[in-house]
Symmetry: C2
Subunit: 491 residues, 2 copies
């Protein structure tokens, strides 16, 4: 794994001298090299990328390793192009963001993971609104042994000072390391704050950042609770449109005096759109120009079924304008109640003040259990297993939809990741009618419109499949088929 770059290569461009990290997977290393080359301008916008064969020879890895890395770069929007006609560096990369040195720490590794959070009023066994982790997949026996070790007298008695307020030191260090590996975020324990979940983190941000007249931009359609969360801290909440690349920076630019924007770049809530890198850089550029803070709600990023999870927006954040929010409540199980915030250095004092006013969030014993669970690899093992289970479920549901309507007419977004995706209805089926027919069949459906303040939202159905077993999925799909046919017949 640690062999140097081959000098015999015939490819006519330089690659950065970035050796593989300890334990870094080969494809993660290749991905990181190429991404760095693109961001540094070594591989320039519009330039044709060398063939996978040439790169494989140059880097002394297999062609399949190169292809996995390209799949990921393509998913993130760094490169574009189809098999046969070549792969090009994306033309939409803003030049202002080409990197000077190395920005982002270690890149994403396929065997690692990140968190999420959703409306907990949803029952796990209700199709298709089950947008939560399947707790039956979680290794509770293993977790119990970590809890027990953490509950020793000496350990539990000694937290205090900053540890009591911001979180256990060892957990914060493990979260920082994990965010480096899984999300490409270069941070240390001092920047990590332990919370009960993303909602608590967003409340801390409200306290830390907002005065009553500060403008906050919210995605629309977006996270349904966002407006309630920020309501005590400011009166000025403004909707920003979602397009095929997620949060519209062009729309955001129309507003002056913006203090913060709440965004879900990994798997937009609820559309599931992944924000491509060009849009990410545009967003960061806007934040730097305006002095605004970007609240990255990384609620659903680690369960990616096509390639490694995309690195976080925070990993590109050279201006330190991004506050990154995540949670283990979906990675592990919903009722765990442990999350985190990565706090920009300029905001450390303001967040600390917020922490004192909200009070310490999480019991020391569970924090220490989580630290050793991560250290022992228990979390990584669990996420791998859960990801495989969710991927199988996702494929089963997509196959079911292909049996409900013609595959070429089927439009979905966000299907490659997370606990749900969106099924956009064909024009000859109205959402009202589908909802009415679903109710008749005991099928609860949630619509994109439920997450929007706009009246003209396109009709899309949230298909939450993560917490349903095969029997529940087949039952729900059967009911969905008859629902769909009845709704279409009534148009």
């Amino acid at each position: 794994l640690s062999r140097p770059l081959s000098k015999a290569s015939a490819v006519a461009f330089d690659l950065p001298a970035l050796p593989p990290l300890d334990g870094e997977a080969r494809q993660a290393w290749v991905y990181r090299l190429l991404r760095e080359a693109i961001l540094r301008g070594t591989l320039m916008s519009g330039m044709r990328v060398p063939s996978s064969r040439a790169l494989a020879a140059r880097l002394a890895v297999s062609r399949s390793t190169i292809e996995v890395a390209f799949d990921q770069l393509r998913a993130e929007g760094y490169v574009a192009g189809v098999v046969g006609s070549g792969t090009f560096v994306s033309a939409a990369l803003p030049d202002g963001f080409l990197l000077k040195p190395s920005p982002s720490g270690p890149a994403a590794s396929i065997s690692t993971m990140v968190p999420s959070e959703a409306d907990r009023a949803v029952r796990v066994d209700t199709p298709f609104v089950a947008r939560v982790a399947d707790a039956t997949l979680f290794p509770f026996a293993e977790w119990r042994s970590h809890l027990q070790a953490a509950a020793r007298t000496e350990a539990a008695a000694t937290a205090g000072g900053a540890d009591a307020l911001f979180g256990d030191r060892s957990l914060r260090a493990h979260v920082a390391r994990y965010l480096g590996a899984a999300r490409g975020i270069a941070c240390d324990a001092s920047q990590v704050l332990i919370t009960a979940g993303i909602r608590q983190g967003l409340n801390l941000a409200g306290r830390a950042l907002l005065q009553p007249t500060d403008k906050v931009l919210l995605e629309d359609p977006g996270y349904a609770l966002a407006a309630d969360i920020f309501a005590p801290y400011t009166r000025r909440l403004v909707s920003v449109a979602i397009d095929e690349a997620g949060f519209s920076v062009a729309d955001a630019r129309r507003h002056a005096g913006v203090r913060a924007a709440h965004v879900t770049p990994a798997h937009q809530s609820p559309t599931g759109v992944t924000m491509p890198v060009a849009r990410r850089l545009e967003l960061l550029n806007w934040a730097r120009e305006r002095g605004a803070w970007v609240l990255e709600d990384d609620y659903d990023s680690e369960f990616n079924y096509r390639s490694a999870p995309l690195p976080a927006l925070k990993s590109l954040d050279e201006g330190d304008r991004v506050v990154h929010f995540g949670s283990f409540n979906k990675t592990m199980f919903a009722d765990l109640r442990i999350g985190y915030v990565v706090v920009p250095r300029d905001l450390a004092a303001a967040f600390a003040k917020g922490c004192r006013a909200l009070g310490p969030a999480v019991g020391i014993i569970e924090q220490r259990a989580l630290a050793t669970f991560i250290a022992d690899g228990g979390l990584a093992r669990h996420v791998r297993r859960a990801r495989a289970a969710y991927a199988r479920r996702r494929e089963r549901v997509l196959q079911g939809l292909r049996e409900i309507m013609a595959p070429r007419a089927l439009r979905v977004t966000g299907e490659h990741a997370g606990f749900h995706f969106v099924w956009w209805l064909p024009e000859d089926v109205a959402a009202d009618s589908l909802a009415a027919q679903a109710r008749l069949r005991g099928l609860r459906l949630e619509f994109v419109a439920d997450h929007s303040r706009r009246l003209d939202a396109t009709a899309g159905v949230l298909i939450g499949d993560s917490a349903l077993d095969d029997t529940q999925l087949d039952d729900a799909l059967g009911r969905l088929k008859s629902t769909f046919e009845a709704a279409r017949a009534r148009q």
Copy 2:
């Protein structure tokens, strides 16, 4: 314990027909009977109470049992008077609060307990600012077994809906029962909300109750974090004076348009004053008249060293105007992070909305562990042991102070309860000088003035002694003695 009232009694007044409860201590039963008689007007204001001998004969209990009950009634301000000249029902009981039926559920029992919360930035081993529980007294081995039982797969996987949002059903039921026994509060599980601590509860109240122009009254001197906690929810925070009976309702009456008042009736923070029953009834009367909400911060009530803890203000709350906040973080150990709110019925929907926006607070496993720990009597056993340890420490410190200055010149408040008390400095010692001398000797002292926005606060020192062992106490007392002598010599 369950013998009926004696018919042979010669005492010329009726006692309510309240038989002892299962497992209720004799003195708790007597206390409850007499308190009820006073509140119902059977024993009227200014009336001389029958002798302990007559009551002992009437109730078929020992005279010492009667005397313990009277000690408690006296501590709460229900009766007044000294040995020899007779005991009278307090003249200051407002008639409007005499009870119609029975209001308050079972009364306090000496063997039960309640919670608290404080600034966590304080290190446990720093004399005399150690106003926290001594975690070394906590039975972690026992706690571990409850955690382990609670971490079984099936149990952990199944919380959902309201349980996920408001707290585990079984824990809420146990907290309700415990509050009935320990704090005299008649409530059921549906009124109990599980939080991470009192601060989170107060934030929920801010969300549930306040608009930006609503007035909130805060005690002064008072809980140092209160202003920060409420700041996002309203701009109008108003200080109310503390007198020898605690929160001054007369001062509160000078303010119009008050939406809520934050009070610490059990052991005023920081003076330690216990609000007597006359003031309590005056406060409740004011709240009813004005339509204001009383936020009862019951942070320090279960560790009472003289008699049973006083029943909560909430136990007298016939108008359902009191929101009651408590926490297990001091009863058990500071880093546990479990507290609760008892929510008036009219506020249930508003608090539920706040819970959704702040997110569920506490992991399901620790909630279930706490439910069984309470059910098995583990909590009651621990509090009994801890109370005895704290009482010994308190006596040691008071004895130390009596060696520092003449006992008849020694003025303290709040010394009968909690994790700290206040030592009011004699006029010939200035706080500045004492603080400077303390610093020279490595002794950290906290002053009442640190908890006040007023400049004219009388000089008092908070003596936090709960988390210090005998060696630490003796060392700290030694340094305090030389500090005091040096400060006095410099006047």
